[in-house]
């Protein structure tokens, strides 16, 4: 029922696109095999320093450690506040962690080889979804008390990702680890549906007439899509790792990098599923728990997350899991049921539940941005210290090693958080009604079915505002 006249927040038409690759140097850059190789190598240098700092830092206080500060302040804040909302999965494009795996699998840094090294098995069909990533990410958050505070824990986490990607790349074809196994891949995939950019085929007719599908099978210019997508028909950002191989393999220059209205992928009524719905719940729930642990006043929660006692730690894991996996979806189910009752009873409840779960994406991402303000503003001055003395060896490379802890704009931070959450609410409500129109058969049903979801979203926003600032 959505049509091309629909606008996001009444401002930007859903079908509006600006082809950034129409700028010749952008297209040249995307077609070059040096892209994204060069940024990956540069990033690899930074992550090598992070790993060394993590290893040498041991269990010392993390606020004066390069690894902790760069991963959990610089990277995290950039990821949630800029990369995902604006540039989709651009982090996956430049991520150095699976680079070793990919280079080993290809037996080459830059060249294109026909045969990949390893067993090249297909990924098991039951795992071709987000469930594994949901549980892996949730499991990673069980260690939040360690990985965000102890350099050695961050080192172990990053090394696990590197080793995991290498092992899986030797067993399974292409980048299955990134698509289905990386703990941070799932939420980037879901939240990149809100992003303001996308990689798509420009003219579907060109692809229709090109029977060879070189973006899927590869050619001498580039590899078959490492993320196992069909770039010629891609409609959502979810599983596109922006590796740019399709720009290289397409003989017709029919792949484009578009600027677009945020959230348009959330309106694509295809491939929606419970795995992505639960990802939305888990992410929203974790933002609440992370706030309580890292920015809340409750010492007992910090003690639990810090595993001061085994009972406390198990309580944290238990409550955290039940809240994210059962309680939050359970509350949402009540509102989805109300929506079904008010809208149209013969629309399956599962469909109503899944479709509306995507309304949590804008609010969830904005909750993470609001949370990230609370990390960035008070703690960013530590970064000045660690770039001058990355290994705590008494260096002063840039003359900032003695820079004192200086909170930055913390007095006005709540206004940034409130503004961000209200923007999230507005976007969620806007997307919510458009999804309601897709879910129910006519406008009247859609309006009625929308009310309970709108109430849920508003209540969730008010709760988050109270939690963060009240």
């Amino acid at each position: 029922m959505n049509d091309k006249k629909d606008r996001i927040l009444g401002l930007i038409p859903v079908d509006w696109r600006y082809d950034l690759t129409s700028l010749p140097y952008v297209r040249r850059m995307f077609k070059s095999r040096w892209m994204p190789f060069l940024p990956i190598v540069l990033n690899l240098f930074v992550f090598t320093v992070i790993l060394m700092a993590g290893l040498t830092g041991g269990v010392s206080a993390g606020n004066y450690n390069f690894g902790i500060m760069f991963v959990w302040i610089v990277w995290w804040v950039l990821l949630m506040m800029v990369m995902v909302p604006v540039f989709s999965r651009i982090w996956c494009m430049v991520c150095p962690l699976p680079a070793f795996a990919e280079w080993m699998q290809r037996g080459s840094f830059l060249g294109v080889r026909k045969k990949l090294i390893g067993l090249n098995k297909k990924w098991p069909k039951p795992l071709k979804n987000m469930w594994l990533m949901n549980f892996l990410f949730l499991a990673t958050t069980y260690t939040t008390g360690f990985i965000t505070t102890r350099p050695l824990a961050t080192f172990i986490l990053l090394m696990s990702i590197i080793v995991g990607s290498i092992v899986l790349s030797m067993i399974y074809e292409r980048r299955n680890f990134c698509v289905y196994g990386c703990p941070v891949s799932g939420f980037q995939g879901l939240y990149s549906n809100l992003a303001m950019t996308e990689i798509r085929a420009k003219d579907p007719e060109v692809c229709k007439n090109h029977k060879l599908r070189e973006c899927v099978i590869g050619n001498e210019k580039g590899y078959a899509c490492p993320w196992m997508q069909t770039p010629f028909s891609m409609k959502r950002n979810t599983y596109c790792g922006m590796c740019l191989e399709c720009f290289k393999t397409c003989k017709y220059d029919n792949m484009v990098f578009n600027l677009r209205a945020p959230g348009t992928d959330l309106l694509v009524d295809e491939k929606r599923g419970l795995d992505e719905a639960w990802k939305a719940f888990i992410m929203l729930g974790i933002s609440v728990f992370f706030f309580l642990i890292m920015q809340g006043p409750y010492g007992i929660l910090k003690d639990w997350a810090n595993a001061n006692t085994i009972e406390g730690y198990l309580s944290f894991v238990g409550i955290h899991s039940v809240f994210n996996l059962l309680l939050l979806p359970g509350i949402f189910l009540v509102f989805a049921y109300a929506s079904q009752v008010l809208g149209r009873k013969d629309v399956p409840l599962k469909k109503v539940f899944i479709n509306f779960s995507y309304t949590l994406v804008p609010l969830g991402l904005m909750a993470w941005i609001a949370f990230s303000f609370g990390i960035l503003f008070p703690n960013s001055s530590y970064v000045l210290h660690v770039i001058s003395d990355p290994f705590a060896w008494g260096w002063d490379l840039l003359g900032t090693a003695k820079f004192p802890w200086t909170p930055f704009m913390t007095g006005v931070m709540p206004y940034f958080q409130i503004g961000t959450l209200l923007l999230g609410l507005a976007l969620s409500l806007d997307i919510g009604f458009k999804i309601s129109k897709q879910t129910f058969q006519n406008r009247e049903e859609a309006v009625r079915g929308y009310y309970p979801i709108a109430v849920f979203l508003t209540a969730a926003t008010m709760f988050l505002i109270w939690l963060f600032t009240g």
Binding site: N63, G299, P407, P414, D430, Y450
Partner: protein, 149 residues
Amino acid sequence: MKKDKLLMGILVFIMLAGLPLMLAQSEEPKEYVIPIEAKQFSYTPNIIEVNKGDRVTIRFISTDVHHGLYIDGYELETNARPGQDGSITFVADETGKFAMRCSVTCGSFHPYMIGYLKVKPDYRLFGSIWLALGILIGSVILVSRRQKP
């Protein structure tokens, strides 16, 4: 249509019902001396509540290692070692919730050692809750409008 109007009426009523809370006059300013105890990685009490205009003296006590106390918004700071207390005195003239952060590296969880100062009435919270309700009402009105044929 009647249902829509009823729903909007309820929402407007909820918003208006909050007005007295926001317009409520605070009591006469008082003077408080509040001891805050710091221990890795929390403050006791972890939340202190005062009214706008109150004169507040925080006596800052550490029971284990060197800790600090920095108040967001007020940009005031003190620190304490076991046996060496710190102190801050200020007039709570800014309303809202303000984080009190440890300003001296005190261990692994140091950046997350946080308490809160709440100065009532919290106009910012009321205002933002109203804005959220306003967005909901605006959205309901927009979607309830009959589409032009």
